[in-house]
């Protein structure tokens, strides 16, 4: 038969065991709660990133850009080449550029040769158009790309819209090129 001391020892052991189990249960519960909180924080962070990405950092799309830049480069060159020179017997820019590449026989009323006159006219036109609209460009007329006859503007460093017009001359073909940056 177990005596009184044995009984109390057994009950203390049971109590200790229960206490330990309870404490373990508590710690597991708190761990779960912390995990839950962490998930909520992660969800809030993801939502914030999503909001910032789609609402705050949203850049407006310019749908007209493609149309404008493609029209601009080709129309600009096309129109320029057709334009008649004011003080050069109403010769077109194409004729002046052809002469420029073939020996510069034409001297205009203001005393300038065909190359200089075409360059000045192009400069005047681009100053009143592309420069005014804050558009960067590179205009060149050449038979050999390494030594252009006329060169205006600056080379595009990134995206560009380019238009190349070949002009026949007696010896070879000359090219007029316009790059519009952006």
């Amino acid at each position: 038969m177990p005596n009184k001391t044995d009984k109390s020892e057994a009950s203390t052991k049971t109590k200790n065991f229960r206490r330990q189990r309870k404490s373990k249960e508590f710690s597991r519960k708190s761990q779960m709660e912390i995990l839950g909180l962490a998930i909520v924080v992660v969800l809030i962070l993801v939502a914030t990133i999503f909001i910032v990405r789609f609402l705050v950092l949203k850049t407006p799309t310019d749908y007209r850009k493609g149309f404008i830049s493609s029209e601009l480069a080709s129309n600009m060159l096309n129109t320029f080449l057709k334009t008649a020179a004011r003080d050069c017997s109403q010769l077109t820019m194409t004729e002046l550029l052809q002469d420029c590449a073939q020996g510069r026989g034409i001297i205009c009323d203001n005393g300038k040769d065909s190359c200089k006159y075409a360059e000045e006219t192009a400069k005047n036109i681009f100053e009143n158009t592309l420069d005014k609209w804050n558009m960067k460009y590179e205009f060149s007329a050449y038979t050999n790309i390494n030594s252009p006859l006329i060169k205006l503007g600056q080379q595009c460093r990134a995206e560009k819209r380019s238009k190349l017009f070949p002009i026949p001359i007696s010896t070879a073909t000359m090219y007029v090129k316009l790059d519009i940056c952006g």
């Binding site: 799309t61 749908y63 601009l72 129109t79 320029f80 036109i125």
Partner: protein, 170 residues
């Protein structure tokens, strides 16, 4: 003694229940707050999408108007009944201006609220306004500049001009 223990237990249980109800209310409150934030965000995204579509539509409309003006038979150059692209006949401009003023309703269907003008920048400076119908109640304004050849039929020569199309969208 037994009744005393029961009453203590009852009070404890009551307190625990109240705490749990409080907890449930707090959780529900947070849940509804999150739902509200989500709904507000959703509405904002939808609103943003509608605005973007509206903007796209206005821009496309502006491109459409620009193209209609560029190929307007009233001002386009032609030689032996063959249309010359990207060219405007100066001698047709005065007649076109008059015609557009007389048939405002017809041209409104084509150009809506816009301002169309042509400026010659070489060999001399000149400006023509061919259509103008503006509104103060607009949300977006688009300006399209198109280089265009200006043909002077009296000397049979081309000049350099800019066709400026300003469209206003409500």
């Amino acid at each position: 003694m037994h009744a005393n223990i029961l009453s203590i237990l009852d009070i404890r249980m009551n307190k625990k229940g109240q705490i749990q109800i409080g907890e449930t209310i707090a959780v529900l409150f947070v849940f509804f707050v999150l739902i509200t934030i989500g709904f507000v965000f959703y509405v904002k995204v939808i609103k943003g999408n509608i605005e973007a579509e509206k903007e796209e539509l206005s821009q496309l409309k502006s491109v459409g108007v620009a193209q209609r003006v560029m190929f307007l038979p009233e001002v386009q150059c032609s030689e032996d009944n063959i249309i010359i692209d990207n060219c405007i006949d100066i001698s047709k401009l005065d007649a076109a201006q008059k015609l557009m003023k007389e048939n405002e309703v017809y041209y409104y269907d084509l150009f809506e609220f816009s301002d169309i003008s042509i400026s010659q920048i070489y060999p001399s400076d000149a400006k023509w306004s061919i259509y103008s119908r503006k509104t103060n109640d607009f949300k977006s304004r688009f300006v399209t500049n198109v280089p265009i050849s200006l043909y002077d039929s009296t000397i049979r020569k081309h000049g350099f001009g800019i066709l400026t199309i300003e469209t206003l969208a409500r």
